[in-house]
């Protein structure tokens, strides 16, 4: 491993500093020009120099909610293409959801995904285990065996489906306490969302598309925070999408309930008005909500009610989106645009500092998912998992340049700020000047 000197980067958006990477760790941080200068005793001799004037250095991003599709749907994404997309977007760690084919509900499947992540080398892949066998909501999967496997699973989720049976949810919450696990809930009351195609409201009434009411999310969140309180467990709410959900989580936190919540970049920016185009690229679950919801989510992310941003990166092949709305698959890719959307909606609006971004997109997701070595401070002795961002960049999103195998982005052609130029995974550059290594 060689030395890398990142010169003049604004660490977490602060004053320009020099950061020296030696091998897989950060060797030193110092005021700009001090490394190699008198009195520090640090040498950057032989180091590759990265000029980072005007750029922001963040800890490598951590995505607690990614769909890598392998095994089973390698036509939409593989662990390799998905982790390349992650590196492009500034991520050094992703949590891979369990809704693969076969479902990641056994030690064997999670170990396979874990191994593929190791082999890819672009990003650490931490598999998420299913809560119930086959995501069917009937019988607990072997949660302990998945935790004890080489993959060391700590996060469990039936994402894509809600653990709607209150008893199963209660048991799962209780059971994972034995090894410090967390259940990540896809909050969707199934009966209230039968035939749901989009947010239930003014637009769905007009378009005649089946409505997905906010209360279907909110009622499950309310139930689950009460269950978590009752059994003294930790629960994580996936892709929270409504203003009402924010209120419930805020109440739960004020009551001392151990709940964390995530919001996706698209729910911070897009609204259900876009569905008027019937363009299936906007079809996602939970659905795009209203302007009022979007603003509530931004505020909640700013004030910490919502803990983290997670992408819910959901790759689908072209043919699953190039069709009529009703037949289209739900989901959007997100790894490669997440930071730009967060800058646009949270940083450029003054709601969040870059240090806040580091917290919501790296420190806290790493803590929730127990991703060792990720989400650490940018300081000497820490693992060199880092992301360098050019916040001044402006340009249209071009999916043709995506590393993901799928192109189902809602941002095609939309001008978004910010660009990840470099990503380092334990000192090894995975992205240099915007190019994958």
């Amino acid at each position: 491993m060689s030395k890398i000197l990142i010169r003049g980067a604004q660490v977490l958006g602060g004053e320009p500093q020099d950061v020296l990477i030696d091998g897989d760790t950060i060797a030193a941080t110092a005021r700009q020009g001090e490394i190699d200068g008198s009195g520090t005793g640090l040498s950057a001799e032989g180091a590759t120099v990265v000029e980072a004037d005007g750029k922001v250095l963040l800890p490598g991003l951590v995505d607690l909610h990614t769909h890598l599709r392998e095994p089973g749907r390698e036509d939409s994404e593989t662990v390799l293409t998905g982790t390349r997309a992650a590196a492009s977007g500034g991520y050094t760690s992703v949590f891979a959801m369990a809704n693969t084919f076969p479902v990641a509900d056994t030690a064997g499947v999670v170990e396979q995904v874990y191994r593929l992540g190791k082999e890819s080398g672009y990003c650490d892949v931490q598999p998420i285990g299913a809560v119930t066998v086959g995501l069917e909501g009937k019988k607990l999967a072997e949660l302990g065996a998945m935790h004890e496997s080489a993959a060391g699973v700590t996060v469990f989720s039936d994402d894509g489906k809600c653990v709607d049976d209150a008893v199963i949810m209660r048991r799962a919450l209780e059971y994972v306490k034995a090894f410090g696990g967390v259940v990540a809930q896809h909050a969707q009351e199934p009966r209230l969302t039968e035939g749901a195609q989009m947010n239930e409201g003014v637009v769905s009434a007009e378009l005649g598309l089946g409505g997905w009411p906010a209360v279907a999310e909110e009622s499950i969140i309310a139930r689950d925070v009460l269950l978590a309180e009752h059994v003294g467990s930790r629960v994580h709410i996936c892709h929270l999408s409504t203003a009402g959900s924010v209120e419930i989580v805020r109440w739960a936190k004020s009551r001392g309930i151990d709940v964390t919540a995530e919001v996706t970049p698209h729910h911070l920016l897009l609204t259900d008005e876009l569905v008027r185009s019937y363009n299936p690229v906007y079809k996602v679950n939970p659905p795009l909500r209203t302007e009022r919801d979007v603003m509530a989510l931004r505020e909640a992310l700013a004030d910490g009610t919502i803990d983290i941003v997670a992408t819910d990166h959901a790759p689908h092949p072209h043919e699953d989106k190039d069709c009529e709305w009703g037949a289209a698959a739900m989901g959007m890719v997100g790894l490669e645009t997440a930071l730009s959307v967060v800058q646009h909606t949270m940083v450029d609006t003054g709601l969040l500092t870059w240090a806040g971004v580091a917290d919501r997109m790296s420190h806290t997701p790493a803590r929730i998912g127990q991703a060792d070595g990720h989400g650490r401070p940018v300081s000497a002795g820490e693992p060199a998992n880092l992301t360098l961002v050019d916040p001044a960049y402006r340009g249209p999103v071009d999916p043709a340049g995506f590393a993901s195998r799928s192109r189902n982005t809602p941002y095609e052609g939309r001008e978004l700020p910010g660009r990840v130029t470099h990503t380092w995974l334990r000192g090894r550059a995975t992205l240099v000047d915007g190019k994958l290594q």
Binding site: Q197, E200, G201, V202, V203, S204, A205, E206, L207, G208, L209, G210, G211, P213, Y278, E319, D322, C323, E324, W325, G326, A327
Partner: protein
């Protein structure tokens, strides 16, 4: 005139009146011994039906044939669609066959919109009903029927439905007919009231240009036209209402209720009727019920829409009106030019 007809909401007042006026001309063809115009000779129209609807398909087919178009009927059952072929592939196959217009019925809301705007085909697209979204020719034939009955056959030319009070009763939530009618009737100046149990009214209806009531008896005396919608029996199993009998008692139209309507008021139904459920036989068979007329008017309206969208080369509108009353898009006959 627009290129496609996807939603009744896309029609301006002048567009809609032009279609209704053109349909009056088309209706005259039905009175002739030979019910045929050469207008769409050499044009090919496909009836692309992904959902069963014999009535609508036959109505379009009759309209197409009366305009001398070449007609291809495509039904999804037993076709390549049931073997997994997509709407896109089907559309492109038809495009390759040189189709000028596609009349599409689809179970998914938005499918005709996507067909018209995706770039898959160049043909004109006419929505013959999509999911619970829109059924614009149904709204047009309903408006046509109302104008004939409430304004007058010849007196109605050039006129809209300003000030007419229309009540639409039944399963609003799942009804593309209701959505299309609210849009078009509002554009034509009518006042619309929807009547249904709250479970069958969509969330968000407060943004529609109409009133909503749960009380049919209170609305009936103030109605010039009452449109009964079909209520599917399976809605009962999904708990939209407790029993068929309770629904009929509260929202069904029987002779006693009909008597509360003003004398000139008409009863409409898009068909097929469930007699005994939303409408009694007594009402369905009365002179005030326009169901059969609506069917006949449907052919005239669809002829008018096809004619106007496909820009037929034979003049269809031959009557003359004072220039000031002429809508912006009036099709001029050769004499008028």
């Amino acid at each position: 005139m627009m290129r496609h007809l996807i939603s009744a909401a896309d029609l301006t007042r002048d567009d809609a009146v032009l279609i209704l006026d053109t349909a009056e001309e088309m209706a005259r063809v039905a009175d002739r011994p030979i019910k045929k115009l050469p207008t769409l000779r050499g044009r090919t129209v496909v009836n692309l039906f992904f959902e069963d609807s014999t009535r609508t398909r036959i109505s379009f087919e009759a309209a197409e044939k009366r305009l001398s178009a070449d007609v291809i009927n495509f039904t999804a059952k037993g076709s390549s669609v049931s073997k997994g072929e997509s709407l896109k592939d089907t559309a492109q196959t038809l495009e390759a066959m040189g189709v000028d217009a596609v009349v599409i019925r689809h179970g998914a809301s938005g499918a005709p919109y996507t067909l018209a705007n995706s770039g898959w085909i160049d043909a004109a697209v006419i929505n013959a009903g999509d999911g619970t979204h829109q059924h614009p020719t149904q709204a047009l034939l309903d408006a046509f029927t109302m104008r004939r009955r409430l304004v007058g056959r010849d007196a109605g030319l050039g006129q809209d439905l300003a000030g007419k009070r229309v009540t639409i009763v039944g399963d609003i939530l799942h009804s593309r007919v209701a959505r299309s009618n609210v849009d078009l009737l509002h554009t034509l100046g009518a006042d619309v009231t929807l009547v249904a149990p709250p479970t069958l009214v969509p969330v968000g209806v407060e943004h529609w240009p109409c009133e909503v009531s749960y009380d049919l008896d209170r609305v009936l005396p103030k109605s010039d036209a009452v449109m009964m919608l079909r209520v599917q029996r399976e809605r009962m199993n999904a708990a939209f209402f407790p029993t068929e009998r309770e629904y009929s008692r509260r929202y069904g139209l029987d002779g006693e209720r009909m008597a509360r309507m003003p004398e000139h008021a008409i009863v409409m139904h898009p068909g097929p009727m469930v007699r005994g459920m939303e409408i009694t036989a007594e009402v369905a068979d009365s002179d005030r019920c326009t169901v059969v007329e609506q069917v006949a008017n449907g052919v005239s309206i669809r002829m008018a829409v096809l004619y106007l969208l496909l820009g037929g080369n034979e003049p269809a509108v031959t009557h003359t009106r004072p220039a000031t009353e002429r809508p912006a898009h009036t099709v001029l006959s050769d004499e008028e030019k």
